[in-house]
């Protein structure tokens, strides 16, 4: 089987992770997974831990993270400076997507706004 490609990691609520796993993104081996299901009782330190673990792996190219989860670890994302893996904020089922909170979108809006004025 082709193992050369990189994986997509997911940190998110149950619905998001299920859907992506259904689509075939999940990768579960004996001791590691590339996803974390954030439930109501998941602590912030667990999320931080998972984020650090996933971004430190070199076989992961993209980390998808639910926006409401991203808000919990905003301090980590703010200081995150690596290009790969790319961290991508995605909407979740319960919380509508707010482009204002995504820092890339903030930059783009600022740039496009500044360009048009």
């Amino acid at each position: 089987m082709d193992e050369s490609g990189k994986l997509i990691a997911i940190i998110g609520d149950e619905d998001t992770v299920t859907g992506f796993l259904l689509a075939g993104v999940g990768h579960r081996t004996v001791n590691t997974t590339n996803f974390l299901v954030v439930k109501n009782d998941t602590t912030v330190s667990q999320i931080e831990d998972a984020f650090n673990r996933l971004t430190a792996r070199d076989d992961i190219a993209i980390v998808l993270i639910n926006q409401h989860v991203a808000n919990e670890i905003r301090h980590l994302l703010g200081s995150y400076s690596k290009t790969i893996p790319t961290v991508l904020e995605i909407p979740s089922k319960d919380v509508p997507y707010d482009p204002e909170q995504d820092y890339i979108m903030q930059r783009i809006n600022m740039m496009l706004g500044a360009g048009q004025s």
Binding site: T18, T83, K93
Partner: protein, 261 residues
């Protein structure tokens, strides 16, 4: 400024002229690169903007179809999906795109062909589950596109900053400094030339003066000699022509008397 440390010689001037030329060329090229990057940067920003909107709709439909499938048709299969061990079927490979010398990562998704064969929805709603899977797959595709764009955006932002800094450094520091050095050398060389010219003029003047003095001396000498000569000649001729005169006088008067009267 460093201009004071440069030796004001023609060689240094030549060298700095070459350097200035190089700096100007480099400035032009970097400016072009910066413009190219900027154009691409804007395009990417716009694409991200659009794709984020698309992604929102994707997400909504995907969640909706998952809810449909899980809640109403196939029963809650989320736990089963989460707990099934499996290798990743969708992976992405990174390719690099080159924009004006800046390498941008581009992710491409591909399927490994190990399609998960879990028996979800066997009892009912299999079609719904399949639809849901397709929705999520489409979403993943878009997300991967978005991820490459976003990575490009960040990389390009960095590259743009560096390039702009270089352009500005060349424009506002390096080129003026070289021009300063060149003008300093030119001034010094001109000064030297003027000094030389004045010195030459002075020398010529002195020489001329000396020549004139010599000439004057010579003239005086010559004049004195001549005077002496003429004096002698006069004295000699006076001595010789004493008798002649009287003879001629007599002759003249005789003749004149003959002719006129």
């Amino acid at each position: 400024m460093s201009a004071q440390q440069v030796a004001p010689t023609r060689m240094a001037l030549q060298m700095y002229k070459g350097k200035l030329l190089g700096a100007k060329k480099g400035y032009e090229l970097l400016k072009k690169k910066s413009d190219a990057l900027k154009a691409r940067f804007r395009k990417i920003a716009k694409q991200i903007h659009e794709l984020k909107q698309v992604m929102r709709e994707d997400a909504a439909t995907a969640f909706f179809s998952l809810t449909q499938a899980a809640q109403y048709v196939a029963g809650d299969f989320r736990g089963k999906v989460l707990d099934t061990p499996r290798p990743a079927a969708v992976r992405c490979r990174a390719r690099t795109d080159n924009v004006a010398g800046v390498k941008l990562p581009v992710f491409e998704s591909y399927e490994t062909g190990s399609e998960a064969k879990d028996n979800i929805g066997l009892a009912g709603g299999g079609q719904k589950v399949g639809q849901c899977r397709d929705k999520y797959k489409a979403w993943v595709e878009n997300l991967i596109k978005l991820a490459s764009l976003q990575t490009s955006f960040v990389t390009m932002d960095e590259a743009l900053k560096v390039t702009n800094r270089r352009v500005n450094a060349l424009e506002n520091v390096t080129i003026p400094r070289m021009e300063g050095v060149i003008s300093y050398i030119n001034r010094e060389l001109d000064e030297l030339e003027r000094e030389d010219f004045t010195r030459l003029k002075k020398v010529v003047e002195k020489k001329r003066e000396a020549a004139a003095r010599e000439q004057a001396l010579k003239n005086e000498l010559a004049a004195a000699n001549k005077l002496l000569e003429t004096d002698e000649a006069l004295a000699a001729s006076a001595a010789v022509s004493g008798g002649d005169d009287t003879m001629l006088d007599e002759f003249d008067t005789q003749e004149q008397g003959d002719v006129y009267f």
